[in-house]
C-alpha cells in the first residue's frame, strides 16, 4: 500500500549517524580552547590539542601578532604542547584557526563561561 511505502525512506543508512559520531566523539581530535581566571579581570587562554605536525612556535607567533598579546608554548608532561595566551582570546583563537585552515570548525571546542 502506498501509505506504508511513504513511511519507509528508501535511501536511509541507519548507521550513517553512528559512524559519524564514532569518528567525531570516540577517537576525536578536538582542539580545546579554554579560559582560566587570574587575579582581577585578567585571564589566560589555553589552546590544547593541535596536531603535532604543526609548528607551535610559528602559530604562536602569528597569534601573538594578530591579537597583540603575549603568549608561550607550555610543555605539559601529559598533554604535550599547549599554547597559552594572555587575555580572553577564545573567540579570536577559534576564528583564527578556522580561517588559517589549521582546524575545522566542528573540531574546535570552546570551554569556559
Amino acid at each position: 500500500m502506498s501509505e506504508f511505502d511513504n513511511q519507509i525512506p528508501s535511501a536511509y543508512d541507519p548507521f550513517a549517524d553512528a559512524n559519524a559520531e564514532d569518528s567525531g566523539a570516540g577517537t576525536k581530535e578536538y582542539v580545546h580552547v579554554r579560559i582560566q581566571q587570574r587575579n582581577g579581570r585578567k585571564s589566560l587562554t589555553t589552546v590544547q590539542g593541535l596536531k603535532k605536525e604543526f609548528s607551535y612556535n610559528k602559530i604562536l607567533k602569528d597569534l601573538k601578532k594578530e591579537f597583540c598579546c603575549n603568549g608561550t608554548v607550555v610543555q605539559d608532561p601529559e598533554l604535550g604542547q599547549v599554547i597559552q595566551l594572555q587575555g580572553d582570546q577564545r573567540k579570536n583563537v577559534s576564528t583564527f584557526l578556522v580561517q588559517a585552515g589549521i582546524v575545522k570548525k566542528e573540531n574546535i571546542k570552546i570551554h569556559g563561561f
Binding site: 502506498s2 580545546h32 581566571q37 587575579n39 599547549v82 570551554h111 563561561f113
Partner: protein, 270 residues
C-alpha cells in the same frame, strides 16, 4: 506515487458518491454503538455529516472500517476498553474530513490536474495536526530550568546557591555536575555546609547558565527524542546515557579538565 493515487481517487468521487459504501457501514456502526455509548453516537453522527464532503477521505475511512469490523462483533464488556480506540479513530476521520473540506478552498492544487508537491502535502498534514492536536505538532514542551542563583562570597569566591535543586531537577549526581562545572570554569571549588557550591573566582550568573546549558546538552538530553528524562550510569569507567522515554543509549565523553595553567604565586622551591 501516493500523490497519483490521491488524484485518481479524487477523480472518482462523483461516481462513488451515490452509493457510498462507507456511509452504510457507519450506519451499521451507529446502531450497534447505540446500546453501548451515547457519546459515541454523537461522534458518529458528526463524522457522517462531515465525511460526505470528500471522496478521498471517505474511501480511506472505509478501509479503516474494514479493519475495525472484528472489534464491533466482540462482546459488550470489551466495548468499554475499545471505546477509547474507537474514539481516536473517529477523531482521525474528523481530522481528515475537516482538512479535506477546508482544503477545497485554500490549497494551491485546487482546480488543477497537477501532482501534489511534497512540501504542500507536508504543510497540509501539519496544518491539520496543529488544528486538531496542538500537543502533537512539533513545538514540544520545553524543559524549564530555574535560573541559577549566584552570590558573591567576599571578593574572590562565588556561591552557587541552588546547585542541589538544579542537580535534582536534572537527575544527576552533584559530583558529576560539580566536576563538569569546575572543569569548564577552570577553577577549584567545593560544596559547603548548606550544600551550596562555592567556586573560586568571580563569575556572573550568565556564565553558570551557559555552562549548565552545555552540560544539559551533553549529559542530559537524549539525542534521539530530545527528552531530558535520562539516566547516566557508569559502566567500567565509561559513562553511558540511557533515555527513559525512547530507550536509546549513547556513551558520553568523560569530564576532563585538560590543561590547567599555573596561576598565582609560585612556590619558592620550584
Amino acid at each position: 506515487m501516493a500523490d497519483e493515487e490521491h488524484n485518481e481517487l479524487k477523480e472518482e468521487v462523483p461516481e462513488l458518491a451515490p452509493f457510498d459504501p462507507t456511509k452504510k457501514k457507519k450506519k451499521k456502526k451507529v446502531v450497534i454503538q447505540d446500546i453501548a455509548d451515547d457519546s459515541m453516537d454523537k461522534l458518529a453522527e458528526k463524522t457522517e455529516s462531515l465525511s460526505v464532503a470528500d471522496g478521498v477521505e471517505s474511501s480511506f475511512s472505509g478501509l479503516k472500517k474494514k479493519k475495525k469490523k472484528p472489534v464491533e462483533t466482540r462482546p459488550l464488556s470489551e466495548e468499554i476498553g475499545e471505546g477509547e480506540e474507537d474514539l481516536d479513530d473517529h477523531d482521525h476521520e474528523d481530522d481528515e474530513a475537516e482538512g479535506a473540506s477546508l482544503h477545497q478552498e485554500r490549497y494551491p492544487w485546487e482546480k488543477s490536474d497537477r501532482d501534489y508537491q511534497y512540501e504542500e502535502l507536508l504543510g497540509r498534514v501539519f496544518n491539520i495536526l496543529r488544528e486538531n492536536n496542538p500537543e502533537l505538532s512539533g513545538d514540544r514542551r520545553r524543559t524549564v530550568m530555574r535560573p541559577p542563583q549566584v552570590l558573591r562570597e567576599g571578593t574572590k569566591k562565588t556561591v552557587f546557591a541552588n546547585f542541589m535543586d538544579l542537580c535534582k531537577s536534572m537527575h544527576r549526581q552533584p559530583d558529576h555536575v560539580m566536576a563538569f562545572l569546575l572543569a569548564e570554569l577552570g577553577t577549584s571549588g567545593s560544596l559547603d555546609g548548606q550544600q551550596r557550591l562555592v567556586v573560586k573566582g568571580r563569575f556572573a550568573p550568565k556564565n553558570f547558565e551557559g555552562i549548565l546549558r552545555r552540560y544539559i546538552n551533553e549529559y542530559v538530553i537524549c539525542l534521539g527524542c530530545k527528552s531530558p528524562d535520562t539516566i547516566l550510569s557508569k559502566e567500567n569507567r565509561l559513562f553511558f546515557l540511557r533515555c527513559e522515554k525512547c530507550g536509546s543509549g549513547r556513551s558520553v565523553a568523560p569530564i576532563k579538565a585538560g590543561f590547567v595553567a599555573r596561576v598565582g604565586r609560585r612556590n619558592a622551591g620550584t
